[in-house]
Symmetry: C2
Subunit: 235 residues, 2 copies
């Protein structure tokens, strides 16, 4: 069976957390919205076409049987079906809550450039974006990343222990994204995150991830996604 992934075609965005898991799983999939007419197909499903369970927003994954939406939910599904998650109930709940912490963190990363709401342009909210970004790097990024740093120190080499799971792929992407968007600020914080950086290297070296990153499937970072490089916000 070939999965169908639906996400905005020109950005990594939230979809990238799913693409990385699909790559590591070696799962076959079509990135539907990146082919002709794909965005219209995506919007039709959101509008309820062909399903009584329309997702609220991309990304979502069609599995043959289900339309699964929300990154953490898709990863929970893929984790269970492709060996990227523990098999016990306790292990699965633990891993899922770690991913939900990433979800919250991603929302806060997005809000650094969109503090006044997702429907206004960055250019219309620059002063607020500066204040929110300062606060983010003072209080929030150290707290979120420090949490995972501690777990890695306790459990390593991967966040939940000996085996890679989907949370490790997401943490890799967070490091990539923060390095892209805030090279100066991230460089300073990285001094306190040796375990996380080691994990980043470990994930980058996995053959399937490496091949994916070098392929055309990997969309370069740009100023439309979650991670945006704005000089004014990086100091």
């Amino acid at each position: 069976m070939r999965y169908e992934l639906y996400y905005w075609p020109t950005i990594q965005g939230r979809g990238e957390f799913v693409r990385l898991a699909l790559a590591e799983a070696g799962a076959e999939y079509v990135d539907v919205a990146r082919s002709k007419g794909g965005v219209s197909k995506m919007m039709a499903i959101i509008g309820g076409k062909g399903t009584r369970r329309p997702p609220f927003a991309p990304p979502f994954l069609k599995t043959g049987e289900f339309v699964v939406s929300h990154v953490a939910n898709i990863l929970m599904y893929l984790g269970q079906h492709h060996g990227l998650a523990p098999k016990t109930e306790g292990g699965r709940l633990w891993l899922h809550q770690l991913q939900l912490t990433v979800t919250d963190f991603v929302a806060e990363i997005h809000d650094t450039h969109h503090p006044l709401g997702p429907t206004l342009y960055y250019e219309d909210q620059r002063p607020a974006a500066k204040r929110r970004t300062d606060e983010f790097w003072t209080s929030r990024a150290p707290k979120f990343l420090g949490y995972f740093e501690r777990l890695l120190a306790q459990n390593g080499p991967y966040v939940t222990g000996r085996k890679l799971t989907y949370i490790d792929l997401s943490l890799f992407q967070l490091v990539e994204g923060l390095r892209y968007a805030f090279p100066k600020r991230m460089k300073r914080l990285e001094r306190k995150l040796p375990q996380l950086l080691a994990l980043h290297g470990r994930v980058a070296a996995r053959p399937r991830v490496k091949a994916y990153l070098a392929s055309e499937q990997r969309i370069p970072f740009n100023e439309e996604g979650i991670f945006r490089r704005y000089e004014a916000l990086d100091r």
Copy 2:
């Protein structure tokens, strides 16, 4: 077995979505942080005391075996163990993604009074809060609530069909909270949400929910939680 719920003792906040599910399930639980020394106990667990799986933040639920955190994750757990969720994989994934949409909506509601970040006071971000709140009521609230309105019209009387699940309890709480925080704005939007209002009434009338709402367990709304009534933001 008696659950232990850990959440801030003086607010409904995110914990209230869990309290409502515990009430409807008729589950026995202690609201630990509301008794003497409870907040310290909560912070100790977050600090890693007695668990190798420390949650990032409240709310979290200690079952006999696990520490489960994040509202949507806790509800998924309770739903499965107390008949507040479907039994099939597809049904569970669908319900969970609806709850994750509520999670996103709750974060945006919080941001109406905290657009510059959760670590600053509202009083230090009033102009930004006004702009974000306007945007929220123009674009976001109609989109989120309209989504659930459509699902109710399609599936009713409950969001996923004939049976109440945990998402219905959360939607009840959203209506309660938005009515408290933004009485004028919500009143106008309610004209377009007849199904959601009917659901709100249906949930409020359920014997266990009704008893819970009338009890001292239900903390009144106030200006410390997610839903805050600030005159300046309601027009």
